[in-house]
Symmetry: C2
Subunit: 209 residues, 2 copies
DNA sequence: CGATTTATAGATCATTCGATCAATAGGGTT
DNA sequence: AACCCTATTGATCGAATGATCTATAAATCG
């Protein structure tokens, strides 16, 4: 048996703080994002609650079950992360192709090099989530395919890049984030140089200056 | 959330067959490899047993606990998968560099494009296993760094490739396997062409024919 | 064939997990 | 201050999980 109420020095007095439901919900979702990014989607609701400093039962006052918490995590992580006007900016031929590519991957890398995004994307992918297929399909049709056409338009006659070549460029860059956040091995603090070199090699091999 | 389709091969009268311990253990390990590759390292021992057509208790007659089963899975998946003489073959300058690279990635891709290997590597990486860091460190020092020196030796003066460039080549190729086995999106049935193109672009950009 | 060995199954235990529900208390209103 | 609403807690339930232990039966040997 524990000793009861003998001391005030109990680490956490567990002060009960009453928050507006809106704010509490937001706090839970944000906490859940980093929690599930850390431990995986099979993380336990009790551990999540402890990390948030609330009781486990309170979670089910805001979400009917654990699956709904994870849905909220997905929504928070994925929603509005792909800028709507990337297709336009990538095909704006008043800007040099190299510049378009560099600005795209500079901005996009801020997304994929984010700890929470990368890990939750990988966890959900391994879980077989349809989400990932939809995301990659969107990526292919809305961003990478237009990019392919831009490169074809800029490349001299003989060479003819394919989608798989674009995926190769893309994968080489994404892999930096995988090494950093999944395997947790050292990577350059600032991947800008690596990205620029990859883009330049890619364009150069297709004869695009 | 839960993966369904745990077993389709049910309807077995569960005939009790007595196997030599050696053989039973091997059967369990091989079954555990595909099982954990499918559902992740948090897969339940009862589901594993059901897939194997044995009782759950029998598992603990061969392994003291679940962690030891996963250890055996790691050993089975990782052991002796990196050929010992790759460093030698990659630095054998009597063979054109392009040929060395192509044969290496052709053979290496048979490893990383294997369903079980790729998924268990990703699961264990997400779980923070030291294994993955050791593997990648080994990859870097024993294979990719020598490769960097070969390219430096073959490249004309001004260009000077860095390790991060080699990782970029490597990641672009590995990413095919990630798309196929983790995200489960369509990839070329035979990645040889994509690999050859990636290698040729890479070498070409460093002025190596 | 009968006896012995031991691989295997079945029952079960102690925790842990997601989820429920009644009791409690924070904080705004009057 | 007294009151009310409801956000929050604490206790608890039933199912699931890793692991243990004993009974059973398949193969081997004399």
């Amino acid at each position: 048996m524990d000793q009861t109420s003998s001391d005030i020095a109990a680490a956490e007095p567990a002060e009960r703080r009453r928050l507006p439901p809106e704010e509490r919900r937001r706090q839970i979702v944000e906490g859940a994002v980093t929690f599930f990014a850390d431990v995986g989607l099979e993380g336990k609701t009790r551990d999540l609650a402890k990390r948030l400093g609330i009781t486990q039962s309170l979670l089910f006052n805001y979400f009917v079950n654990k699956a709904e918490i994870i849905e909220a995590v997905y929504a928070h992580v994925y929603l509005d992360r792909l800028s709507e006007d990337w297709p336009r900016r990538l095909t704006d031929r008043s800007v040099p192709l190299r510049d378009r590519l560099l600005t795209f991957y500079t901005e996009y890398s801020q997304l994929i090099f984010e700890y929470e995004w990368m890990r939750i994307f990988m966890f959900s992918g391994l879980a077989g989530a349809e989400l990932n297929r939809r995301y990659l399909h969107h990526m292919g049709t809305v961003i990478l395919h237009p990019l392919l056409e831009e490169i074809r338009a800029a490349a001299p006659a003989p060479v003819d890049p394919q989608m798989e070549d674009i995926w190769n460029l893309h994968g080489g860059i994404v892999y930096i984030g995988i090494r950093r956040h999944i395997y947790q091995v050292p990577t350059p603090d600032d991947p800008s140089d690596a990205i620029a070199h990859a883009v330049d090699r890619f364009l150069g091999s297709f004869g695009v200056v």
